[in-house]
Amino acid sequence: MIPLSAYVALSFILFMTGLLGVLIRRNFIIVLMSVEIMLNAANINLVAFSHYLSSMAGQMAALFVIAIAAGEAAVGLAIIIVVFRGKIATNVDQINLLKW
């Protein structure tokens, strides 16, 4: 039986990978992909606890997380298309119109 801490550790490693991707990459789309990595890490955590505690609640939460990820991808990519069409910027750190 694989210990639960192995799954939790894997989930943390993937989550930090995604967080680092959000912080250090300059490309819009890679930043959104890193968000997907973080959502997947959260899903692994939820399903692992659901399995080890014999409950369906974690699997339900993971399903809803996948639905939210689909919505987030659609809206995020639409925003990216708008930004590119207006030739505002090509990198995340060049969008500073709202920066104080």
């Binding site: 694989i2 801490s5 490693i13 930090m16 990978t17 990459r25 789309i29 659609a74 298309i81």
Partner: protein
């Protein structure tokens, strides 16, 4: 024994794919690494007795969301720049690795426990995993399910409104020319 080998394979490849996703230079290669990550996470779901989530992960994540990413990536034809990382990335890298080390120490020291639920593998296997997921979703989580439906409708409408080509009357120029 087989479980350990499979877990080791899926865990190692998903971590490596995650690192490739944020480290590779060409955005299309990053997208393909993300595909590998999603498929191996789906394999982990099978090890955790979540067959329905395995199918949803492959159909929705790898089949729909990732194709959307690759579509936009190729539509916009991003050029790969020389400086593709943030200027201060060593600082973030150091902070991230430090936080990760602390969290891992905490994870391996924590005693996990809690009240067990009723959905043991024997109970679930009597009717099948998908049946169990469906019964739970449409009884205990029905309100949440409806809310997610409305959320997805809002997301679709928002995406269409944002990405629509602006047509209609051209607005009058406000600034004086010459």
């Amino acid at each position: 024994m087989m479980m350990y080998v499979l877990f080791g394979y899926f865990a190692t490849v998903s971590i490596l794919s995650g690192i490739f996703t944020i480290a590779l230079k060409n955005p299309v290669h990053c997208g393909l690494s993300l595909l590998s990550l999603l498929l191996h996470v789906a394999g982990l779901f099978v090890l955790l007795n979540a067959e329905f989530l395995f199918a949803v992960q492959i159909i929705v994540y790898a089949g729909a969301i990732l194709v959307l990413y690759l579509f936009v990536l190729m539509l916009l034809s991003l050029k790969t720049e020389e400086q593709y990382l943030h200027k201060k990335y060593p600082f973030f890298l150091f902070a991230g690795v430090a936080i990760l080390a602390e969290l891992l120490i905490l994870v391996f020291q924590t005693p996990y426990g809690g009240a067990k639920g009723t959905a043991t593998p024997e109970v679930v296997l009597q009717t099948g995993p998908s049946h169990a997921v469906g019964i739970t979703m449409f009884s205990d989580y029905l309100l949440l399910f409806e809310i997610v439906g409305v959320f997805l409708l809002g997301a679709i409408i928002g995406a269409i409104v944002l990405a629509k080509t602006p047509t209609g009357p051209v607005p009058e120029p406000t600034g004086q020319r010459e």
